[in-house]
Amino acid sequence: MEESKLIITITGIDKVGIVARFADILAKYQVNIEDIRQTIMQDHFVMIMMADFSKANSSFQEFKNALLALGKEMDMEVWVQRKKLFDKMHTI
């Protein structure tokens, strides 16, 4: 189900608990993490998750708002986007 795949990108200053706290929200909303990558780029922590939204127990907007709220609290930049965007833009 490509339709329900999301890419969640989280960037900011590295600190304790980023992965745990964001993963906690995904679990709460029944959004499955299918892949996760993290790296440090120019002193910035970057975490990219691919998640499946098909069994989520809320609307997209509600889920996105929860992630953005946590991003604000932890001073991290958060992007939640449908994966189709990247597939379409970067593959022929």
Partner: protein, 455 residues
């Protein structure tokens, strides 16, 4: 993540966040041909009801998709059948009333602009065409979101010089009736040669005769993204490699438009029309076509080499973009609207970019002399001469060209016209002081050109 690397994801986010990648417009194109009646009120009611029926979900669905993809959709718009036709059967040809109906409907469904207050008169005027054109100064004064386009020339029909003369007067009057807002009425009025039927951009959008009942056309934008890509290349990269880089970026920009357009069309349950590949600048710093030309190696946009740089840019954007979409149409090229492009404004202020150079540039790009503020005391005949020149470029080169100039009431060279929003602001640019009055007053039509011996 099945082929999508972290680098691609971060690149996409940078394109949106730092370089202003956005969908400039999603435009619902809608036929109003079934709204024709002999009673103007009944026609108005039918128009209003039909727009509300078909466009009610346009804005909410666009907002929803914007959230899900985190791609800004800057404008939601509607394009309708040229209103000159729709009002023509009415006993009382009160076109201003129809313009007000369009404005009211646009506001009710929360779209930014509605285009199609238009007439196609390249070979002559019908009664409806004449009435609509005469109504323009008042119609564009009493409405906020209505846009108008008048097609006065084609490569097959030649140039209707009676219409060119008339439109010089109408542009002047329209600016005068909106003198309190720097002549903004004229910013919503464009005169065309070879106008396309499926253009999603304003002020020229309308629903053409050969179009289906309704469909969705999308205009993308991305000068900032192209500029960043060109700037990232070493200064001595040769032209083949430079063009190749632009093509790749244009592919990415257009793919995004195609995705968003198809997604919207599917959710609205209407057919997808075309992607317009145009590079449309915004007044935001860096989101400028002029800045791309400067990144290619020009000290300032407007200097020698500018036309060549623009020709290459325009062609590379089309080549890259066309592969990303199954249906491309509209204007599809780089736009050079002066007031809407911070780099163009700067180039005019510095004296590098002149009216004549802008005219030369329009021969190799989309779409024409666009959003250029000229002195308020410019005569209607001079405006007609400006239109005639631009129509000639389009007619001979078999391309779309257009004129959207604003003779800013009470202002002169050195002053500024300020419109705000996407329309931006513009320094008043000087025009040639010698008269073309005798020429434009001859009347009749410039015959259609020969389509061989292309020299």
């Amino acid at each position: 993540m099945s082929g999508i690397t972290s680098q691609y994801i971060l690149e996409t986010i940078d394109m949106i966040k730092l370089h202003h990648l956005d969908i400039r417009t999603v435009t619902l194109s809608l036929s109003l041909r079934d709204c024709i009646s002999t009673d103007i009120k009944e026609t108005g009611d039918k128009i209003y009801d039909k727009i509300l029926k078909y466009a009610a979900k346009l804005s909410p669905v666009a907002d929803q998709i914007e959230e899900e993809y985190s791609i800004p959709i800057i404008n939601k718009r509607i394009a309708v059948t040229p209103i000159s036709i729709i009002g023509e059967s009415c006993t009382d040809k009160d076109y201003v009333y129809l313009a007000q109906v369009l404005d009211k409907a646009a506001k009710a469904v929360n779209v930014d602009f509605i285009g199609g207050y238009s007439a196609l008169v390249e070979k002559g005027f019908t009664k409806g065409d004449t009435a609509l054109i005469e109504s323009l100064p008042e119609a564009l004064k009493v409405t906020d979101r209505v846009c108008s386009s008048i097609n006065v020339a084609t490569s097959k029909a030649g140039i209707n010089m009676d219409a060119v003369l008339k439109m010089g007067q109408i542009v002047k009057q329209t600016a005068t009736t909106t003198a309190d807002r720097d002549g903004i009425g004229a910013a919503k009025l464009v005169v065309f040669c070879n106008t396309p039927n499926d253009n999603p951009f304003m002020a020229g959008a309308f629903h053409g005769y050969g179009e289906p009942e309704y469909n969705l056309n999308v205009g993308v934008s991305g000068p900032g993204v192209v500029r960043a890509a060109v700037e990232a290349l070493p200064d001595d990269v040769e032209f083949g490699d430079l063009a190749s880089k632009i093509k790749k970026i244009a592919y990415k920009i257009t793919s995004t438009g195609e995705l968003i357009g198809r997604e919207m069309a599917q959710r609205l349950n209407i057919p997808f029309g075309v992607i317009d590949l145009s590079l449309a600048p915004t007044p935001a710093i860096g989101d400028s076509v002029a800045n791309i030309l400067e990144a290619m190696g020009l000290e300032k946009c407007g200097t020698h080499g500018t036309t060549a740089a623009l020709a290459m840019l325009n062609d590379a954007v089309k080549k890259g973009g066309i592969m990303a979409s199954s249906h491309v149409g509209g204007l599809s090229g780089a736009f050079i609207p002066v007031s809407e492009d911070a780099g163009m404004i700067e180039a005019v202020k510095s004296g590098s970019l002149t009216f004549d150079k802008l005219e030369a540039m329009t021969s190799v790009c989309s779409v024409g002399l666009d959003m250029i503020a000229i002195p308020g005391n410019t005569s209607p005949e001079t405006i007609s001469g400006i239109i005639a020149d631009e129509m000639a470029i389009g007619m001979i080169n078999k391309k779309t060209t257009a004129v959207r100039v604003i003779p800013v009431p009470g202002k002169d060279v050195g002053d500024y016209a300020v419109y705000g929003g996407l329309l931006g602001e513009a320094p008043i640019i000087p025009v040639n002081k010698y008269s073309c009055s005798k020429f434009v007053n001859r009347g009749g039509r410039i015959p259609a050109p020969i389509h061989s011996l292309n020299n």
